[in-house]
């Protein structure tokens, strides 16, 4: 099988055993790689009822068949485990260079088992793999850890690491690579921390063989032309990054503010992509092999570093009523150093501010820090305290749902399945609300990015307030995304590329004979598999929902005034579109059709 290295590492941190195993061909064919293959392997090996922090839990780092080959933005790896935050399957995705480097070292994935007695890191240098002591790095921030590990191993090595938040088992801890790229969501950093594993350093020098080099070249040429021609991937993303969305979403009156108490922010311009470009940007940056280059390198004080994404600007901006972009950049940097998911952290701070506003959180709990909407002076310090689990920071470190629940108001938590929802108010965009409610990892925007057709006119403009047809669109977007995430592509390529382009890449890389329909079918298989996992893990079907505020309280002003999310209409249509029963459980005949019965 080409496109894959066909080998993977199994590392047991308890016994210190390191094994090289061979990829199962059937699994690769049916579940592609990345998110699909990782979920399948994880489900085959781990009891779904497991405590995510048990040494018997495993965590997988999985590339796809296009990761590290000559494919545009084939930069991705997936972290697969059970989420300690949501109890769902966690598949957290990151770009940068680490994933490709793992392939160059000769491995498609790493399966990590057990728990190290002392802090440890793993050094993979082609065929030489070692478990090393990391006691000297425990407690260190991400940039220092990364620099030290490069010095200790190879300056060209790629470093994936957790920060203090992961070590301290914060449920909103992510995993960082190349300092500012994050497999951010679902608390995967805490699972790594529970294993006493600080980092995985990889150095690889081998080439990944593909099935048909010429065909791949040709496919690349066609895809690159489409990416360059498309307005979003060719110029919008490179020029402004994702932050350009601030103004669009705000104009549409669905840019949540103050923990979704409001749906537009009068100071949006101050924190917009345009302002970021004008006042803070040094240059744009790219992940491995990416012609889009949406990354931002920005001034941070006297230094420089990765700039905030749209979701981050929202989380520390309007969701907290804050319009100080400089402070948002600092806070983003603090999250990167501590290894914290910015979306979850901002949203958790937002619900805390609402609870404070209601008088439920008292000043005595805050050790002198502020917790008021609009006050930007304390948020960077809050991130530090989350990472270190200090004082009230320890409560914030448990995420929005558990925090709100502990004050008797879980309904104020803007989460789905306990994962914090990002920056689009689903009252003003019906299909995206359906996607939030049915996403297999909880409140996530990139499981089926309905913003694309409902707001960005890509591939066509849908009426964002309408419910008709949204179930069909959402299913297709979710299935296609599952395939893209499994291939190893960055999802942003999908603004320009379609299922047939992705199928062509998979075929050229691996020799399969996919077309658009069969690739979507594979995506559907993966989506159903994840759903099965969640059900087996104990996630209840009725958790396919949205916070009551978004279902019952109409937006009071702005362009989406009067709207609620009509999930009661959308959900039955969606289940029927998926071939699931009325409770949202995949039917036997559907599973049989997909070959996962």
């Amino acid at each position: 099988m080409r496109g894959y290295t066909c080998k993977y590492l199994r590392i047991n941190l308890t016994t210190k055993e390191i094994k090289v195993e061979f990829l199962d061909k059937n699994n690769a064919e049916n579940f592609i790689g990345g998110r699909g293959l990782g979920t399948k392997m994880y489900m085959d090996e781990v009891d779904p009822k497991i405590d995510p922090f048990s040494p018997d839990n495993k965590i997988l780092f999985v590339t796809g068949p296009v990761t590290g080959i000559s494919a545009p933005a084939g930069s991705r790896y997936m972290v697969i485990t059970k989420s300690p935050l949501s109890g769902t399957i966690a598949s957290s995705n990151s770009g940068g260079f680490w994933g490709p480097e793992l392939k160059f070292a000769g491995y498609d994935l790493i399966v990590l088992e057990g728990k190290s007695e002392k802090p440890a890191y793993i050094y993979v240098n082609n065929e030489h793999v070692e478990i090393r002591d990391a006691s000297h790095l425990w407690g260190e921030v991400v940039s220092k850890t990364t620099d030290t590990l490069k010095e200790e191993t190879d300056p060209r090595a790629k470093v994936l690491t957790i920060g203090p938040a992961g070590e301290n088992l914060s449920l909103i801890a992510g995993i960082m690579n190349e300092k500012d790229r994050a497999a951010g969501r679902s608390g995967v950093g805490a699972v790594m921390g529970s294993k006493n594993l600080k980092a995985i350093v990889v150095r690889g020098t081998q080439k990944v063989e593909v099935f048909d080099k010429d065909k791949l070249k040709e496919t690349y040429k066609v895809a690159l032309a489409k990416i360059k021609e498309d307005g979003i991937t060719g110029s919008g993303l490179p020029t402004y990054g994702t932050a350009v969305l601030v103004n669009i979403i705000n104009e549409a009156g669905m840019f949540p503010a103050n923990n979704f108490q409001k749906s537009s922010f009068s100071n949006a311009e101050d924190i917009s992509g345009e302002t970021l470009a004008e006042k803070h940007l040094i240059k744009n940056t790219a992940c491995y092999g990416c012609p889009i280059a949406c990354g931002r390198l920005v001034h941070i004080g006297d230094g420089e570093g990765g700039g905030p994404e749209y979701e981050t600007i929202w989380a520390f901006g309007s969701d907290l009523g804050i319009n100080d972009l400089g402070e948002i950049i600092y806070t983003n940097q603090m999250c990167n150093e501590m290894g914290i998911d910015t979306i979850s952290a901002g949203s958790t701070l937002a619900v805390a501010m609402e609870l404070y506003q209601m008088g439920l959180i008292k000043d005595e709990e805050l050790d002198g820090l502020k917790l008021e909407f609009g006050d930007s002076g304390s948020m960077t310090e809050w991130m530090k305290r989350i990472g270190l689990k200090e004082g009230f920071g320890a409560k914030l470190a448990m995420g929005s749902y558990r925090l709100a629940e502990s004050y008797g108001h879980s309904e104020l938590s803007m989460t789905v399945k306990k994962l914090e929802m990002p920056a689009y108010d689903p009252r003003g965009v019906q299909g995206q609300g359906l996607n939030y409610a049915t996403s297999n990892r909880g409140g996530c925007h990139v499981r089926g990015y309905m913003i694309s057709p409902e707001i960005l006119a890509h591939p066509e403009q849908l009426d964002r307030f309408a419910t008709e047809g949204k179930a069909t669109w959402t299913k297709i977007f979710q299935d296609l995304t599952a395939a893209i995430d499994s291939l190893g592509f960055c999802l942003f390529t999908s603004f320009a590329l379609g299922a047939d382009d992705y199928a062509a890449f998979l075929n050229a890389a691996t020799g399969t004979k996919h077309d658009a329909a069969s690739l979507l079918k594979a995506g559907e298989r993966i989506y159903n598999l994840e759903k099965l996992y969640n059900l087996e893990a104990g996630v209840k079907p009725e958790e396919d929902t949205l916070p009551p505020r978004l279902l019952n309280d109409a937006i009071e002003e702005g362009a989406s005034k009067g709207m609620v999310n009509k999930l009661d209409i959308l959900l039955p249509e969606y289940y029927s579109e998926r071939g699931w029963d009325e409770k949202g459980i995949p039917t036997e005949s559907k599973l049989k059709e997909l070959g996962i019965d």
Binding site: T233, G241, G273, Y310, Y449, A457
Partner: protein, 74 residues
């Protein structure tokens, strides 16, 4: 009648961010675009008062028109 025009992303280059523009009663968006100097083919998203609209849609006094070139994120 007076229309408030808001430009975003690259549309701002050598133009403006926000401007009030006087146009004849009954004008449509396409005519407004002509005055602003933006080719309607370059417009990816056109909103009137925050609602996605069409270049042929009629405007009324005090409408806010927001214009975006192709942009996206996630």
């Amino acid at each position: 009648m007076v229309i408030e025009v808001r430009l975003f992303a690259t549309f701002r280059i050598n133009r403006f961010k926000i401007k009030k523009i006087e146009i004849p009663e009954g004008s449509i968006c396409k005519e407004l675009l002509y005055i602003v100097g933006i080719d309607h083919n370059d417009v990816s998203i056109l909103m009137i008062n925050g609602i996605h609209s069409n270049v042929l849609d009629k405007l009324k006094d005090k409408d806010i028109v927001s214009l975006f070139p192709p942009v996206g994120g996630g």
